[in-house]
């Protein structure tokens, strides 16, 4: 059985030392992904290695890591595509590292909440009037943004977030846009107040890598540009309204 070398970044906070790369030889099997290799290391070579994973099928979004410098879901990164190796595995960029390949995600979770990812209504209509109906075209306006699995790869690919942790970031802004574009929602003004600033939509410099690395083919870069356009239109409207008074 051929093998391939994994260079895994190890960080042990109790040692107080800087992270170091540790090499592991794993079988190079055609049906193995990087996550399988990490599981092999954990089960047979070094049980102290720490990392997150769950579904192993690109749904849960928890096994994101930097593989050869690129943010990927390790459950979708086949070992053979990196042959003959070595494969360098590091924790996701731009997040504080808790241990080995495990990163701290509280900042991301807070930013998701700030996007108010729920349907906001100014007035609720009575139940007797029935449900809020939506046409397939109206659903199509935001459906792709619902595919986000919160894997945070877009944050690792975004240099703006890497340079300024205050930036709301691609997934949170795309999530806000998902609700802004929902025909049942009336919370655009609230979200615009939250995001129309330098740490929100105007912080994005359109690098575009967030959309490139997204494993679910969501286009956060596009969502942010549309959000910017809506912000600019709002600004002009407010200017005209002020002058008209």
């Amino acid at each position: 059985m051929p093998t391939i070398t994994l260079e895994v970044l190890r960080y042990l906070p109790e040692d107080g030392a800087e992270p170091v790369f540790q090499e592991y030889e794993v079988p190079l099997r055609a049906d193995w992904v990087v996550l399988d290799a990490l599981n092999h290391i954990k089960d047979h070579i070094d049980g102290t290695l720490s990392y997150r994973w769950s579904c192993r099928m690109g749904v849960c979004g928890s096994c994101g890591m930097m593989v050869n410098g690129k943010p990927v879901l390790t459950c979708a990164a086949f070992l053979e595509s990196f042959a003959p190796g070595p494969i360098r595995v590091e924790p996701m960029a731009h997040f504080p590292v808790v241990r080995d390949l495990v990163v701290e995600v509280t900042d991301f979770m807070d930013k998701l909440t700030e996007a108010k990812p729920w349907i906001i209504r100014e007035t609720e209509k009575p139940l007797s009037e029935g449900e809020y109906r939506q046409s397939p075209e109206e659903l199509g306006d935001y459906k792709q943004y619902t595919m986000c699995i919160n894997c945070m790869l877009c944050y690792s690919a975004c240099p703006v977030y890497g340079l300024d942790q205050g930036f709301s970031g691609p997934a949170a802004l795309a999530l806000a846009q998902r609700y802004n574009k929902d025909s049942r929602d009336q919370g655009n003004a609230q979200r615009m107040e939250q995001h129309s600033n330098d740490e929100g939509i105007w912080g994005c410099t359109m690098v575009g890598e967030c959309s490139e690395v997204c494993p679910k083919h969501v286009d956060p870069a596009g969502a942010i540009q549309q959000y910017k356009l809506a912000g600019a239109v709002d600004w002009w409207k407010s200017l005209i309204t002020r002058k008209g008074k």
Binding site: P13, G69, V98, T106, P159, T205, V207, Q225
Partner: protein, 134 residues
């Protein structure tokens, strides 16, 4: 979040100043940002030409003489290339920002980008026509 208050020391990596040389996509992005300098160059040049025209034929001739210098011609050729790259990538991105609906029909991305190009060529044509007949 209070549950993260007491935790082992996190490891944080500061972003290096040359972070953008690590991937071609980032290099492309920085290059595109730098082309804004060329856009600024032509904007300043336009203002200088306007001022020279206002000041009279001698000032205009002096400015034209300066612009005809081989060094200035070289700079202008490079700046033109950079501005064209800036404009083309800008127009190609426009469908990302604009979702146009006419009733139930969504205008295709190609038509939105094409509209920008058409406006660009039309305005350039009008300016060229005004220059030729003037």
């Amino acid at each position: 979040m209070s549950y993260t208050l007491h935790h082992p020391k996190w490891h944080r990596v500061a972003k290096p100043i040359f972070w953008w040389i690590r991937r071609w996509a980032y290099i492309g992005f920085i290059f595109r940002e730098l082309t804004s300098v060329a856009v600024a160059y032509f904007a300043v040049l336009l203002v200088l030409i306007y001022c020279a025209v206002q000041s009279g034929p001698e000032a205009y001739a002096a400015l034209m003489g300066l612009l005809a210098h081989p060094a200035m011609v070289t700079i202008s050729v490079f700046a033109l290339g950079a501005v064209l790259y800036h404009s083309i990538t800008w127009f190609n991105l426009s469908p990302k920002a604009m979702v146009v609906r006419l009733g139930r029909w969504r205008v295709p991305d190609l038509m939105i980008a094409g509209g920008n190009y058409a406006a660009w060529f039309a305005i350039s044509g009008v300016i060229a026509w005004a220059y030729i007949i003037g």
